[in-house]
């Protein structure tokens, strides 16, 4: 029963994978019947390319903004749901709804809310004297996209924290209370360390997500201003399908997957070491 699956994997996975490796060493432009093997030229070119370097750095910048926001936000949501005596299911579903949003539709809302005459900007101008070009700023534009993604994924990650919170045994809290840990102290010294597995999962998921951003910057900023929202996927899309450099685009995709793989590995190791040092599990 699984052999059709193997055939499918052969066609849609193994074959394209090998083809990708081959393409990465060519200068094919998607149209011309002829192309040449160019050795490592694509890789060298990518290494010195400004847009590839931008994609590389922008991803970590997104991480720096997105990961803390989404962790704080989803933990907050999880704590609310957890402390409610009733209607937990209702609020879990409610907080999860943003996950259903298409990046295109949320880009339309964000563009509207941040447009020059919007109530939000009118308020800022009138009462605070602030006139901000949100999407034209290389610092604010990525922050806005990070916030959009945080909004989308918060309710999802909250469910991970929630199942972490629910798995903390009552006895642990009782023992902590005997030792005088209540309120904030209890949260800081008991709840948070016990949530380490959830933190670990959410962080790795959130970090991995940052390597695959496409829709939001494609629709909203086109990677700009000044490459400040230029992600890996945008770079690959631009190279392969706008400039028709299929060979070079594949090279960038391979570099991207190596960078992703190594980054996630490093994050895992660091988090595991950090957890082990403090005796969390």
């Amino acid at each position: 029963m699984a052999s059709p699956y193997l055939i499918y994997s052969l066609i849609f996975f193994l074959f394209p994978l090998l083809w990708a490796v081959y393409l990465a060493f060519t200068n094919w432009n998607l149209i011309a019947p002829d192309y040449e093997m160019v050795g490592l030229r694509n890789f060298i070119e990518a290494f010195f390319s400004e847009s590839v370097r931008a994609a590389f750095l922008v991803t970590y910048k997104f991480m720096l903004m997105f990961v803390p926001i989404v962790i704080a936000g989803s933990l907050f949501l999880a704590l609310i749901i957890h402390s409610l005596p009733r209607l937990k299911g209702l609020f879990s579903v409610g907080y999860f709804l943003p996950y259903l949003a298409s990046g295109v539709a949320s880009a339309i809302v964000v563009k509207g809310v941040l447009s020059y005459n919007s109530p939000f900007n009118a308020f800022l101008r009138r009462y605070l004297g602030l006139d901000i070009d949100w999407l034209g700023s290389p610092i604010l534009a990525p922050l806005i996209i990070a916030l959009m993604m945080a909004w989308k994924f918060m309710g999802y990650y909250a469910l991970l924290f929630l199942s972490g919170l629910e798995s903390i045994p009552k006895e642990v809290y009782e023992a902590a209370e005997m030792d005088g840990a209540v309120g904030w102290k209890r949260f800081w010294y008991v709840t948070l360390p016990m949530l380490y597995p959830s933190f670990y999962t959410v962080t790795i998921l959130a970090v991995g997500l940052m390597f695959g951003i496409f829709t939001e910057p494609y629709v909203l900023t086109g990677g700009g201003p000044d490459y400040s929202t230029h992600t890996w996927q945008l770079e690959i899309y631009n190279q392969a399908f706008q400039k028709l450099n299929a060979g070079y685009g594949t090279t960038v995709a391979i570099i991207n997957s190596v960078v992703t793989f190594v980054s996630i590995l490093v994050f895992r190791k660091v988090l595991e070491k950090w957890g082990a040092r403090h005796g969390w599990e």
Binding site: A2, A101, A105, W151, M154, Q233, F241, T250, S257
Partner: protein, 279 residues
Amino acid sequence: MQDMVGSKKIKTMLLYVLAFVVLIIMVFPYIYMVLSSLAPWEQVDRKIIPTKLTLRSYEWLFAGGEDVVPRPWLRAFFNSILVTLSSTALMLVTAVLVGYSLAKLKFKGSRFINNVILFQMFYPAIILLIPLFLIVRYSGMYDTYWAMILPKAVNLWAIFMYTNFFRSIPDELIEAAKMDGAGQLTIITRIVLPMSKSITTIIFLFLFMERWVELLWDMLVVRNEKMLTLNVLLAQMFGPYGAYPGPMYAASVLLTLPILILFIIFSKNFKEGMQFVLK
């Protein structure tokens, strides 16, 4: 004592108020989207709550303006449903079959397949984008529905979930059915699937949601305007319709509302179902 009970009640009430306020903030973009799609045009993005409601944006969306040709929004909507449903159905069927084989059938090479799946799961899919596009182009699938369905007929996460779930079904049940002369397919449809209703609902929802908002792939493999999905059409009109925010909100509602309704209908045991998925 009385006081403590009273203050606890107030605390609980404040908690509900907080939970509710946060809920409103979380769904505010949806509310804003719906209100803006119904607002008179001079109030779109000028007022949060419009002073009166009108269907002009929807009429314009489907009929077009004086110098703007209407786009096939309804057609795009049905394209999205067709593509998403077929793709999701195939992903479910393949996941059930492969998951069942891996969990319950002992056959040569099952470990090998397991490893293939694990490898594929941890491999960044982006590397396949360009060669997959070329396969679609050379096989003649370009600009057909097949291009959006066939390369998205298998989902590794779904296989993984079903394999784990089926492992928890006792072997005795399946052995007993076999003694009664049931074939593998009968066992799957009569015994295994009825036991996996709640996990199937959750997997279906996730696959459907993710497929519904796919942009990059659907944008690459289809050019014919009659075959575009709603999400792609909306993305394409983002710039050209920039001066018509009202209709853009109307189109966003068309894109978002069906999936919200579908989700809310199926979300009855959402929290319990998620517990398994998140494990």
